[in-house]
């Protein structure tokens, strides 16, 4: 098993003819992900590295039976692209695009809910089920098949964590970058539940950061619902209030959303928290032994 994506994932790439879209399509294809179609309005009938291009997602889904989509279109058109995928019956949309206006995302949330579409991101690096499928912009060489599920709000921090795990021989079931924006699709709770129900996953890494109270909620949720060991890390312990730390969502407002509160919440819920990334493989190894 694994969660969300696997060998049966049939992917379309929205914005396949763009620079990032075509580059990462190649990378995903190389990794073995089934990329079945690309979307680029007006370019139907052409192909990108042998992958057929369609004008609309609806047509692509009809012709190829795609169930997953990755969105590389520029920020101002990205929410529309997600909505298009959802209305076309795509079950899982991974939105890589960064800088999407928050209200654009808020406006499409009810469309996703109506259609039962899952969204990862926006402003995320995607996800990988090592050895099975990669949908995103992740550097596949650092990942290794195994039993740790990873959920993270950031990209390179995820790579750092994974690299450290892999270096210690600890493989991963699925690793998901959920995105650094304030409002995103699948969040800790949904993903924790999926990992809890995934046979292949034996322990879970949760990389949070400052801003909002999703980590506090996740902590309470873990205490009540998750039996598998979870180890957390929180980025931004030294960030001052009122300053946005790169990610649109990484912001301490009026003293709420601090790393200290989040760490406290995890510890109160019995979740170990790594002090720095290098401590993560140690804590995970301990957890896996138990």
């Amino acid at each position: 098993m694994s969660i969300l994506i696997n060998k049966n994932t049939k992917l379309i790439v929205q914005g396949i003819t763009g620079r990032d879209g075509s580059f990462h399509t190649g990378k995903m294809n190389e990794y073995g992900t089934q990329v079945v179609a690309g979307i680029s309005p007006g370019k139907e009938g052409t192909n990108v590295n042998g992958i057929p291009v369609y004008n609309t997602v609806a047509k692509a889904v009809k012709e190829t039976g795609a169930n997953t989509s990755i969105v590389f279109v520029p920020a101002q058109f990205a929410a529309d692209a997600v909505a298009e995928a959802s209305e076309a019956g795509i079950e899982l949309v991974i939105c890589i695009s960064e800088g999407i206006p928050t209200l654009d995302i808020i406006k499409i949330i009810p469309i996703l809910e109506k259609n039962g579409t899952k969204m990862i991101g926006p402003n995320c690096p995607g996800l990988i089920s090592p050895g099975k499928s990669m949908v995103g912009i992740l550097p596949v060489n650092i990942f290794k098949e195994g039993h740790v599920g990873l959920i993270s709000r950031s990209g390179t921090l995820t790579y750092e964590m994974v690299d450290q795990l892999t270096a210690k021989g600890i493989g991963q079931s699925t690793c998901i970058g959920i995105g650094g924006d304030p409002i995103i699709g699948l969040h800790y709770k949904e993903l924790l539940t999926m990992f809890e129900n995934d046979d292949e996953t034996k322990a879970i890494v949760l990389c949070g950061e400052i801003g909002g109270d999703a980590e506090e909620q996740a902590a309470a949720f873990i205490k009540e619902n998750i039996t598998k060991p979870v180890v957390a890390f929180i980025a931004g312990q030294s960030a001052p209030p009122g300053k946005r730390m790169g990610h649109a969502g990484a912001l301490i407002i009026s003293g709420s959303g601090t790393a200290a509160e989040k760490i406290k919440a995890f510890e109160a819920a019995g979740v170990k928290v790594a002090k720095e990334p290098s401590e993560m493989p140690v804590l995970i190894a301990e957890a896996l032994k138990q």
């Binding site: 990378k27 920020a75 101002q76 800088g99 999407i100 206006p101 928050t102 209200l103 654009d104 995302i105 808020i106 406006k107 949330i109 009810p110 912009i137 992740l138 550097p139 060489n141 650092i142 993270s152 709000r153 950031s154 990209g155 390179t156 921090l157 995820t158 790579y159 750092e160 690299d163 650094g180 304030p182 409002i183 990389c207 950061e209 909002g212 109270d213 999703a214 909620q217 890390f233 980025a235 931004g236 312990q237 030294s238 960030a239 001052p240 300053k243 946005r244 730390m245 790169g246 990610h247 649109a248 990484a250 009026s254 003293g255 709420s256 790393a259 002090k275 720095e276 990334p277 290098s278």
Partner: protein, 377 residues
């Protein structure tokens, strides 16, 4: 992006949200003329992009023209939370009967615009939220229907009883929601929303934040900005493809990725150093970007050393190393620099850096932090 009360009120007026008679002024002379025009008594309010103006003495009720001029003299130029007051707003003094709080914010949990109401108006709402969370009514607005008048009324009847007040306040909320979505706000507050002694409901204060990601749709808002020097640096950095935030420490950081950049600051902190900034250079090995980034670090006079922390993902570390070497060959760097390369082709990257006397390599983040802290002692 935050805007001043007077700019927010201009936007209110455009959306027909009732505000008081008021004039923005930059000099005591203008304040005197404004007091004449509006009619005494007036309230003179500091225009600064921070809360707590009242406590800091930035809001004065004045009964005479001389009092108004004196207030202007006192307030203009004063510092509130490190911000200099450059303008004041001269307002008609309202005969306040009741004060409420109303606000809207992009809410992470409900993934919607959250309408917030409280009968505790005129006080710092964050305090109310912490101490008496039950005193804040929260309503998630369905983005597909928008805020419907009946929903506004239903919400308001939790904090008001008078039908006439509810009707006026509901109308204000519907208009505020319209302003909110049309202007791509991330926060809009009226605190206090007052009922005056004639029963009229008015927005006595106004706070608006815009979603930076949506500013491209609102070119006209650019001129409403009043950035601090630090914020100007951030915007300058953004134009160069960098996410930069100046902090107060001594160790300049250059990192790829926001999460890793925060973690780098944390690790510096953990080992007893102080980060001078947050800096995310994104995913490219472009030497020009590195040069720009170093310029930001070195222009900060507090910076005594630099820690570069790169995780090579899609971009390989050897390419990054070449970019760094090229960049540093063009620059005059007179502080110690530690570079940690990890991820794809990290070993090859470190090999390339060997023997470069300007750049001390490190194998791990912790090692890099410890090395740079030692180097600047």
């Amino acid at each position: 992006m935050n805007i001043h009360e007077y700019s927010a009120k201009e936007l209110f007026a455009k959306f027909k949200i009732p505000i008081q008679n008021e004039i923005v002024c930059s000099t005591p002379e203008e304040v005197a003329a404004a007091a004449d025009k509006i009619g005494l008594p007036v309230v003179v309010k500091a225009q600064v992009l921070t809360g707590g103006r009242g406590k800091a003495g930035g809001v004065k009720f004045t009964k005479t023209k001389n009092e108004a001029i004196e207030a202007a003299n006192n307030i203009l130029g004063m510092k509130i939370k490190n911000l200099i007051v450059k303008k004041v707003l001269v307002c008609e003094a309202a005969a306040i009967a009741k004060e409420y709080y109303v606000g809207m914010v992009n809410d992470r949990n409900t993934k919607s615009v959250l309408l917030m109401l409280s009968a505790e108006g005129g006080v710092e709402i964050e305090e109310v939220a912490k101490t008496y969370p039950e005193k804040i009514i929260k309503i998630s607005v369905n983005p597909q229907t928008g805020l419907l008048p009946f929903q506004a009324r239903e919400a308001l009847f939790n904090i008001m009883t008078d039908g006439n007040e509810v009707r006026q306040a509901a109308d204000i909320l519907v208009k505020l929601y319209s302003l909110y979505v049309h202007s791509d706000c991330s926060l809009a507050e009226i605190n206090p929303l007052v009922v005056d002694k004639s029963g009229k409901v008015i927005a006595l204060d106004a706070k608006i934040n815009f979603d930076d990601n949506a500013l491209y749709r609102h070119k006209a808002f650019e001129e409403l900005a009043d950035y601090t020097e630090d914020e100007k640096l951030e915007i300058d950095a953004k134009e160069k493809g960098l996410a930069y935030v100046k902090l107060d420490g001594e160790i300049g950081c250059m990192v790829n990725g926001a999460g890793l950049a925060m973690t780098t600051m944390d690790v510096i902190n953990l080992y007893g150093g102080t980060p001078a900034n947050f800096l995310d250079i994104g995913g490219s090995s472009n030497p020009q970007k590195v040069i720009h980034a170093m310029e930001f670090l070195l222009n900060d006079k507090n910076v005594k050393g630099v820690m570069i922390n790169i995780f090579g993902g899609i971009t390989r570390c050897d390419d990054v190393a070449r970019g760094l070497i090229e960049a540093f060959s063009k620059m005059n760097v007179n502080v110690p620099v530690v570079i940690r390369l990890s991820g794809t082709n990290a070993a090859e990257g470190r090999e390339l850096l060997k023997g470069n006397d300007k750049l001390m390599p490190a194998e791990t983040m912790s090692e890099a932090a410890q090395k740079i802290i030692a180097a600047i002692k």
